[in-house]
């Protein structure tokens, strides 16, 4: 049977074209407004910025909300910081003697275990380097939550006896530690006098030069913060010049080896003026010499 309805034709279903495609006055004005460059820029950039900023400011205007946001952020931060991956539970100290290691452990500002975010390695390093016995410290956090402290200690090379007591100094003259008893470090030479710690290198050179008589050397004394005296046993004293004390001591040693000068009854050898070395005899010996001289003088008169 033939259907009575005509098949749908696309021509009928298509809407008729507008007879008058003119925009309405309002649409025309709106489009002109939209094509205005300033307006366009304001709408596309200015308006979203203002809107978002307004929303944010409006939300944050309430103090409670601000506090809540701050709390949330802090909690979140704490959660992340306290994850086991970031926790430091041990401190390993390398290269330090037991007392220095104990001191380092005592001065650590945070209680372990602590989060690695809470550790200010730079500040800790500075604090550790404040210890006199520590020359150089290196801190880093090893995997496994270990705070690795690698310490280079200062090596004491000399003892300095001053008004405040006996101190060990390293080769730069920096204090290492106090020493209660000289005999605890009998291997180290002793220096004394004000300002002696600043000239440790020179003192070491003198001591090195005086090796042949080291069994007699009691120590060095800094005189007037400008020159050295070598104090020997038997109350002997060698006064060294300000300039080039090492060659002066070498001269003394040469004399000693040739003439056994230091074995004689000489109280002081004064080398302060290199052109005029002077010696002072021990008190009793002077009288004996005077007697001898008198005897000598008496003999011709007899």
């Amino acid at each position: 049977m033939q259907p009575l309805r005509a098949p749908a034709r696309s021509d009928y279903s298509r809407p008729a074209p507008l007879r008058d495609p003119a925009p309405s006055r309002l649409a025309y004005r709106a489009e002109r407004l939209w094509l205005t460059p300033m307006f366009r820029a304001a709408m596309r950039i200015g308006l979203p910025v203002v809107l978002v900023a307004g929303l944010v400011v409006g939300y944050l205007a309430d103090g409670d909300r601000r506090a809540a946001i701050g709390q949330t952020v802090a909690d979140l931060r704490k959660q992340i910081e306290e994850r086991p991956e970031f926790m430091v539970s041990l401190m390993a100290i390398d290269g330090a003697s037991v007392p220095v290691a104990g001191a380092i452990r005592d001065m650590l500002p945070v209680e372990l275990p602590a989060s690695s975010f809470a550790l200010d390695l730079e500040a800790m390093r500075a604090a550790i380097e404040q210890i006199d016995a520590v020359a150089d410290a290196e801190l880093h956090i090893r995997p496994g939550g270990i705070l690795q402290v690698t310490v280079k200690e200062r090596q004491p090379v000399i003892l300095w006896r001053s008004a405040s007591g006996l101190q060990m100094l390293d080769k730069t003259g920096h204090r290492v530690a106090n020493l209660r008893d000289r005999s605890a470090r009998a291997d180290l030479p002793v220096i004394a006098g004000e300002g002696a710690d600043a000239m440790v290198a020179e003192a070491l050179a003198i001591i090195h030069a005086a090796r042949p008589i080291h069994f007699r050397v009691r120590g060095l004394v800094r005189m007037g913060e400008r020159r050295w005296d070598i104090v020997l046993d038997r109350d002997q004293r060698i006064m060294l010049p300000e300039a080039d004390p090492v060659s002066a001591i070498e001269r003394i040693i040469a004399l000693d080896q040739a003439e056994d000068m230091l074995g004689r009854d000489i109280a002081t050898i004064d080398l302060r003026n290199e052109h005029r070395p002077t010696i002072r005899l021990l008190g009793g010996r002077v009288a004996a010499l005077e007697n001898f001289n008198g005897f000598q003088t008496k003999v011709p008169s007899q």
Binding site: D20, P23, R25, E31, L35
Partner: protein, 443 residues
């Protein structure tokens, strides 16, 4: 008179503002279509002395938006139903703006109808000092005797065409010349006030500012006459939809303009009546099969008229092309005869060169140049407008001659009367401005 002078000056200032802003629209309100082009004003080579640049100075602007829409409410080139025309203008302007992606506020418009009438004016002054200065030009223009062109008429163009100094005539620019008697010829074009006021009102209703107004015959002339035709003398026949504009150029100046209130729409109307088809169908048949010179072949070429009324006999009706030509030709002949009459009245046969250029949408009828040669004279050619930068291909046809002419008019307006300063004598006797002007001129 002063009123119009002021309003035309205001338009010139508006044009300056548009040039500053860099975007200006041209609007051609015609009977069959409304075209709107958006121009972007580019490098203004003010420093060049000859005022020309690349592309013979046409390169100062670029068309960045173009739109055309079917015209509504316009008859004989005059606005008939304002609301509809306003909507059509809105359509065109909005589409052009959309293409240009910018907003235009200044528009230069042209109108084709409004019964233009030309007047040749002459003025003469004695020069106070030997050399001609700019105030002297203004004075001689002001001295032109303005004819009484009646109530409800308004001056559209007032262009100085020729200057003569003592016995030397044909000066283009008399400034700096030395002489004692300066005389000027001016071409004055008047139109109906009502028509132009209606157009301006429609454009104002679209939130646009008028930056200038021109006769479409003049615009078509500057777009489709080549330079030597303008120089030697030629007439441009702009065959539009509702009216046919005629402008005569010599020495690069328009010296005459008129319009015939007949155009292509009347041909369509004749076809519609003759074949009893709707106007839209008639327009289509005219466009596809139209012609004015019948040949034997046309007897055998049958045209399906086509209709959708349901009556098979009527819907299947066919006419031969000869019949169609038989309907079209008398009307086209009538238009050309009218044009011939106007050209004769204007004394076109006195010009040294009598080139006639046919342009406009209706000039695209095949065989029109042959017919026009029989009626108007042998020197007839079909003209297409100048090519301007950025113009879409669709807007390059003869139908856009006056639109393109308006672009050129926008870029290089000719000096008109109102471009010169008002001479001091024209100010009221006791006005402060007259005193200020006197000081300005004398120091």
């Amino acid at each position: 008179m002063t009123d119009l002078y002021q309003s035309q000056r205001a338009m010139r200032n508006m044009r300056q503002a548009a040039m500053q802003r860099g975007v200006v629209a041209v609007l051609d309100v015609g009977t069959s279509k409304i075209a709107c082009l958006v121009l972007r004003i580019e490098n203004l080579d003010e420093d060049r002395e000859d005022g020309l640049g690349s592309l013979a100075g046409q390169a100062q602007f670029r068309v960045i938006g173009a739109a055309t829409t079917r015209s509504r409410g316009v008859r004989f080139g005059e606005i008939d139903a304002m609301q509809e025309t306003e909507r059509a203008i809105r359509t065109a302007v909005q589409a052009a703006q959309k293409m240009a992606q910018t907003r235009v506020d200044h528009v230069i418009a042209c109108l084709s109808g409004a019964r233009p009438r030309s007047y040749g004016l002459a003025g003469e002054i004695q020069l106070a000092e030997g050399q001609v200065g700019e105030p002297d030009v203004a004075r001689v223009l002001a001295a032109c005797e303005v004819p009484d062109f009646g109530e409800g008429r308004e001056v559209l163009h007032a262009q100085p065409v020729n200057f003569a100094l003592d016995h030397r005539s044909g000066l283009g620019d008399p400034r700096g010349h030395v002489g004692s008697r300066l005389s000027a010829d001016m071409h004055l074009l008047t139109i109906d006030t009502a028509a132009v006021q209606t157009l301006l009102h429609c454009i104002k209703r679209c939130d646009l500012e008028i930056a200038g107004i021109a006769s479409s015959a003049y615009a078509a002339g500057i777009a489709s006459l080549v330079e030597d035709e303008q120089e030697l003398g030629a007439a441009c026949i702009d065959m539009g939809g509702g009216s046919t504009g005629i402008s005569i150029f010599i020495k690069k100046h328009m010296i005459f303009a008129d319009a015939v209130r007949l155009g292509g729409d009347h041909v369509s109307l004749d076809i519609s009546k003759g074949l009893r088809v709707p106007l839209a169908t008639a327009e289509r048949i005219k466009t596809f099969y139209g012609g004015v010179m019948a040949t034997g072949m046309d007897d055998r070429e049958m045209i399906e008229i086509g209709a959708n009324c349901g009556d098979w006999e009527k819907d299947r009706k066919r006419v031969s092309r000869t019949e169609l030509i038989g309907i079209m030709r008398p009307r086209v002949e009538e238009i050309l005869e009218e044009v011939r009459g106007i050209l004769d009245a204007a004394g076109f046969d006195q010009l040294p060169s009598q080139q006639i250029v046919l342009t406009g949408g209706a000039s695209q009828i095949p065989g029109l140049d042959g017919l026009a040669a029989r009626i108007l004279g042998q020197n007839v050619r079909l003209g297409r407008p100048l090519r301007v930068q950025g113009l879409p291909q669709a807007a390059m046809g003869a139908a856009f001659a006056s639109t393109v002419g308006l672009c050129l008019f926008a870029a290089h307006p000719q000096d008109e009367w109102w471009d010169f300063e008002i001479p001091a004598e024209r100010y009221p006797a006791r006005s402060l401005r007259r005193a200020a002007k006197w000081f300005k001129d004398n120091w």
